[in-house]
Amino acid sequence: MKTKLLSLVTPLVVLLLSAAPSAPLFAASHREAPITALDQKADITDWYAFVDPNKPDHVVFIMNVDPFLEPTNGPNYFPFDPNVLYEMKVDWNHDGVEDIKFQFRFTTQIGLPQVFTGFVGGLAGIPPITALQGTGSQGLSLSQTYTVTEVTNNGVQQIGLGQTLSAVPTNVGPRTMPNYAALAAQGIYSLSGGITVFAGTVADPFFIDLGAAFDSLNFRTATGGGVLSAAADGDDHNNYAPNALAGFNVNSIVLEVPITMLTADGQIHPATDANAVIGTWATTSRAQATVLADPFGSLAEPSLYGQVQRLGNPLINELIIGTGSKDTFSTDAPKNDAQFASFFLNPLLATIFSSIGIPVPPAPRTDLLPLVQYIAPICPGCTAAQAGPIADLLRLNTGIPPTPLASAKRLGFLAGDDAGFPNGRRPVDDVVDIAARAVAGALAGSKYNTPIGDGVNTSASALPTTFPFEAPAYSGRQSSHNAGPGQPGCALQPNGICPTN
């Protein structure tokens, strides 16, 4: 036989089996799969999509990447990766395939190549950094600009052509950046067509008791061990356990676009109309070597980019998908999610809940289908034919009026706040509690609505109610992870410290 089977067989079996990846049970969306744990810059931590309460004819998308950024971590801090293609995608005709997407590409400039740190100001004759461009920006030794590209079936066009879009650097400290909030505000750009964009480092708005979750769901006694008291459950503003994200930054891309850009016919529709509902997700991709030299050949139609991660609904990959499938889930497209249907319809976590006495509905869990199909209650106007394939998309009914953020409920849809998760997702939504309750059967009826919760009910940073809806980055110089007295959200607790036992 002329062809000899590749000899790289048996030895590499041993090699790879011994290096079999493992992944935690869940970790928000931070490092949720082996592939993203290895590629932090391409790790999407959270994906948000909601109708802007201040502009109800606009939708806000927030794509956060690069988890657990320690504010003190100089000298180069946290640039976006110029080799990663960041994309926000929208399906408007319910087939699980993007109809419009927005691409973000970053470029790094080194302004002071002889200086040993990325940012300097108020020292050695270099003025403090007070601007992203021009006078006042001399101390930005490391700076980044980016482009925004809109891609539809009709073509590709760069948004904001002619404008220089600067990414907001992290908050180094008061000597270098004496008015960081004002500096960060300069990173908000109004583009043509009613589009607004921001990119930069912010305080991570996500909140979770990660330590308890990682320790095999060993939630704090003060929170009822994972089943909240009525008082804690009804509290949207205070925490009863430590928030692991407190004091950490994250890189964020925020885009606000008119709803008319996101619907099939370019119109705004009432909530009862199927056309009001869109499916959204974010992806990160890297240029990859292709099998064949001509990537546009007919065979397999490989792309120049290989997807590293996607994120639609929060916690799907963490809570639902088995470890042996997480990378495949991350790198595949939502339209192919039928292959994961067994995970969706019979989640292992539900079995675990049942084993510890929490009532859960029997499998198959059709009550979870609203998370992966276009059906009521998120899409009350959808017929069976419009349900689309099983696809992990963050679905948003753009016809449901937004709730003013000051009165938004952390439990979103489950608390009667229809503008919250799983109808889209806002930074204020407590998706850990909502998702856990959904897995336990909350969507199947009140019988299954056990008040599961980690006791962390609110973000460590005060979430702004206006664009970009995230707080400026924590200061490196003034940094603290707020584990002690004064931790945000813990004011009601003895000595202002959320209990850790």
Partner: protein
């Protein structure tokens, strides 16, 4: 059936729910591929891939099965996903290198194999020798005899008795017109690995060197050995068909052997053997159709191209001849 395959099959039946079931099935898959039972390997790999889609080794084996069966479209898809899951992983790079080679892109194949070599630990001696040998063969097919010699000598410097590397060095010596050395190397290889295919190469070398008597004896031994293996999965049916056409001038037997192999797989080499046998039987029209299939993926294998050219010449296909 090979004892190890039988053993693993029994294990799979006995412990289907055990924790080690996947490991056992992966071991079975390895055995199936090594024994060239590609259809069963594809079935097993597909099943395992559904159970653990993130397992790179199983994906690599799935790609191997597709490649050997000639389903190149699925092989490319599987290999691309394998490379995307862990960029730069040697399992993906080696499969992609093989596909590029079959696609006629020797330079591209060399690039990937070189990268695979760089990321393979020096402690993985057999893997590195295999990669050096493959790179040497590609260099030789590209006309870079000196580079091929350097690479294969590096491989043999580590593992002097590696049969595949000895075979490539013999090809290098033939390209350098050092036929006696080539024959000595091929004799050594056959002594180390008494496969019919190795005997055929030796017989060809003897024939080329004008040692007609020795060649006749080697061809006769080869035919007997190849016929003994012909119904097994791991066989020398490609070589046997070539022998019947080019040396024994028994085209009907060539077509019978090639047809039998074609029932198992549709890779470019089987399609070529079938087309060449058809041509030898005078059916140039069908031969042309079959050689088109062999060339469709882009192969620039010199033997296949020569066959295609001669078939086209008989059909007055000037374009093909060029």
């Amino acid at each position: 059936m090979n004892h190890r395959v039988a053993f693993f099959r029994v294990l799979v039946v006995l412990v289907p729910m055990a924790v080690c079931a996947q490991t056992v099935q992966t071991a079975l898959l390895t055995q199936l591929l090594q024994r060239h039972e590609f259809t069963q390997a594809l079935e097993t790999a597909t099943l395992l891939h559904k159970q653990v889609p993130d397992d790179l080794t199983i994906r690599a084996y799935l790609a191997d099965a597709y490649i050997e069966l000639g389903d190149y479209e699925e092989a490319v898809k599987t290999t691309q996903a394998l490379m995307n899951l862990r960029p730069g992983n040697p399992l993906g790079l080696t499969r992609a290198g093989r596909l590029r080679e079959l696609h006629g892109d020797n330079a591209g194949a060399l690039e990937l194999l070189h990268r695979a070599y760089e990321v393979t630990s020096p402690q993985e001696v057999s893997d590195r020798v295999s990669l050096l040998t493959r790179m040497a063969r590609l260099q030789l097919h590209s006309g870079s005899v000196a580079e091929a010699e350097t690479l294969v000598n590096t491989a043999l410097g580590t593992t002097p008795d590696e049969p595949e590397a000895i075979g490539v060095l013999a090809q290098v010596r033939q390209a350098q017109h050092r036929n006696d050395e080539a024959i000595a190397l091929l004799e050594k290889r056959f002594a180390l690995e008494r496969r019919a295919g190795n005997l055929f190469t030796l017989a060809q070398a003897l024939d080329t060197a004008g040692q007609k008597q020795g060649a006749a004896k080697a061809f006769a031994d080869f035919e007997q050995k190849a016929l003994d293996e012909s119904d097994r999965a791991a066989n020398a049916n490609h070589e046997l068909a070539d022998y019947y056409v080019d040396y024994a001038h028994r085209p009907t037997q060539a077509l019978e052997v090639a047809s039998r192999e074609l029932r198992r797989r549709h890779d470019v080499f089987t399609l070529d053997a079938y087309a060449w046998s058809l041509a030898a039987c005078g059916d140039y029209v069908q031969a042309s159709l079959e050689i088109h299939k062999a060339l469709a993926f882009g192969s620039k294998d010199p033997v296949i191209l020569r066959h295609a050219s001669e078939i086209a010449a008989h059909l007055d296909g000037q374009d093909w001849s060029r």
